[in-house]
């Protein structure tokens, strides 16, 4: 009950910020919520199932490009968004079926290779994708029924709705039987297998769910912010959800959101102080990893908040 109240409280707080946050922070929170969905999905694979992937940019980009290209082809925002979500999940399912034959460091390398292949594919088809430069969605492509997503409040509320659905589904997942099996696989694969679970299947489902989240985030990014570009398929976007998760707490439902929030504001505030802001961000992360290796919420859970999911 406490856990549900906490998560509903966070969502209520974000809803309140729609009315209270100054314009700059209002816009930034919309971006954070979308990328937090990406992080929430990453955490399903990494935090709960123990799959350390370095290729999630592929799933994010699948959603981003599926939605963006279909929008360019004249699809309306609703079906294009749905196609983006499914594209993320489908690519995760297919690449996972191959990559999950490996584990540990090999899995990192194989997922990274898939993502790099995806990135190169986007560049290869530059006449279609406009490569690094990217392309903009039309205003018509950013209308979700009667809702104009180029406007501040509808965009914020759409981002919040996506985040709320993603957060509550994840909360339900990790507290379900399947969620507990995922944790069992993370903790001891052999024992899970001995108990009769199909470990490969559990992992594949987790990665596919994770891909659906990444695809949803990518699709939402295209429609909410109107830009699609190859930069989002680069290695940086495979590292970011990992950082969000590590910072907020791997294996905690809210961790990636907290991580994304801190990363955004860390970059924002340090870039005002020094042009070496990325160094400062890196140093901050290093300090955190040394002194709170389980991330912020992970450390809080270890120090008393046992009920934190």
């Amino acid at each position: 009950m406490k856990a549900l109240l906490l998560h509903l409280g966070v969502l209520a707080g974000l809803l309140a910020l729609n009315f209270l946050a100054p314009a700059y922070h209002h816009a930034m929170l919309a971006r954070i919520m979308v990328l937090a969905v990406f992080g929430l999905g990453y955490n399903i694979a990494f935090g709960y199932t123990g799959l350390l992937s370095l290729g999630h940019a592929l799933y994010f980009a699948a959603g981003l490009y599926a939605t963006g290209l279909l929008s360019q082809a004249g699809w309306s925002a609703g079906p294009a968004l749905l196609a983006g979500v499914l594209a993320g999940g489908a690519i995760a399912l297919v690449s996972g079926a191959l990559a999950l034959r490996t584990a540990g460091v090999s899995l990192m390398i194989v997922t990274l290779m898939f993502a790099q292949a995806g990135y190169q594919t986007i560049l290869y088809y530059t006449p279609l994708t406009r490569g690094e430069e990217g392309f903009n969605l039309t205003n018509a492509g950013r209308m979700l029924g009667p809702v104009n997503l180029t406007e501040e409040t509808p965009r914020y509320l759409a981002a919040l709705a996506l985040f709320a659905v993603a957060l509550l589904l994840k909360l339900a997942l990790v507290r379900s039987r399947r969620g507990r099996v995922m944790v069992a696989v993370r903790e001891n694969e052999e024992r899970s297998r001995m108990l009769g679970y199909d470990v490969f299947r559990v992992k594949l489902v987790a990665l596919t769910l994770s891909g659906l989240y990444a695809g949803a985030a990518g699709a939402a990014w295209a429609v909410l912010f109107g830009y699609v570009g190859a930069g989002f398929a680069g290695i940086q976007y495979s590292i970011l959800p990992l950082l969000y998760t590590l910072l907020g707490g791997a294996g905690t439902v809210l961790g990636p959101f907290l991580g994304a929030l801190l990363m955004f504001y860390l970059i924002d505030l340090t870039s005002d102080v020094s042009q070496s802001y990325l160094f400062m961000v890196g140093a901050s992360l290093l300090i955190l990893v040394v002194f709170a290796p389980k991330g912020i919420l992970g450390s809080l859970r270890a120090r008393g908040l046992k009920w934190l999911p």
């Binding site: 314009a23 930034m28 690094e132 930069g231 505030l269």
Partner: protein, 430 residues
Amino acid sequence: MTNNLGPFTTRRRVLGGLAATGATAGLATGLGTRFAQAQSSAPLKLGFQLHRTGIGAAYGRWYERTTKAALKAVNEAGGINGRPVEVIFEDDGTDAARGPQVLDKLINQEGCELVFGPLFSNVVMATAPRAAELKIPYLVCSETHSVAAGKLNRWTMQPGITDVKSQVRAVAPFIFDTLGKKVTMIYPDYAFGYDHRDFLTQAAKEAGAEIVKLLPIPVTETSFTRYFAQIPRSTEVIYHVMVGPGVLTFVKELGEFYGSNHPKLFGFIDSLEAVNIDTPSLSFLEGTHFWEGDCRYAQPDETEFDKAYRKAVGVNDQGAAINDPKEISTYAHMFSCWETLYVIKAGMEAADYKGPQDRQKFVEAVEAMSDMPASMQHPQGAKRFNGKTHQVFGHQNISQVKDGRLVRIERTSIDAGLYPDETDYTKMSF
């Protein structure tokens, strides 16, 4: 550096705004008059989206210096509409994802009237939709053809530098008539390179020349010899537009591959901006030709405007920093910041710009611009702005490397870079 006072300032502004609304509703004009007076003498804040870090940092350093020099000149001459001007620089890391956030910050936190200055087209493409959403004039210095191609919006304009299509069309006759009609193109394997490929191919077709081989090279490539083996023997001209850290290796390996008996070379100086061309490792380039937006080396017939601009920005006759001759400028491109600031000044004065409520009038005033004569406002040379396509056209320089210096051998006319309109932004709603 920006002055980030965080949410508290903004909240105060919001409360101030509410109070002002109440006062306006309830009270008469006394306070309003005083407010208007305060606004009319307050500095005009302009935002600059700067590539201070990331892949565009070499450009960013000089774009900042150039803009500061232009700002000093503008303020010494009375500012804009009699108001002093401030430019707030904000680093976007040359990162597309950060671009819109920087625009938000400049507008919503710093209170800037508009945003200008980005070079890299990925940042421009990512930020332009945000500028349209917030209805902010966004003046880019990017060379991207996407503006003139109608891919952006009413709020995005490129009044300070010509686009790639115009540049390629202007220099193409020199390449085909003077250097040779059989051309192999070597270009980076991404959108910027593809623009060169498409525009030169089109120009070749019109001129009866032939592109005998296209060699796209991944930007991450570190060794190039295997690509050179694919250059056909019939090649008369190699057209190269390499960018990124591999460019020095590219030139060195090209020299090793061909020796002294090589096809003619024509390149875009983008490859070697901020790089000293007078070094042994680049000696292979002696005698080859380059496009330059503005001539890095002071030419014998340098105009008084370019001379004064060069001095104001702190660049010597060799195109390096006066106080550090080892630091080479991005001279071919950085004039765009200077000229864009002066277009902003002219546009704001034409629109009698007083504040955010006049942003649309400002865009319309810039759209109404046409010929811009060579002057201290346009030291690179005369320009012609096309209000329909939001794109400026100007002269291009073709230089040859002689004794390790770039010597201009031809300056194209404005007309040489013109092409039919591909869009009409003035018909687009705000």
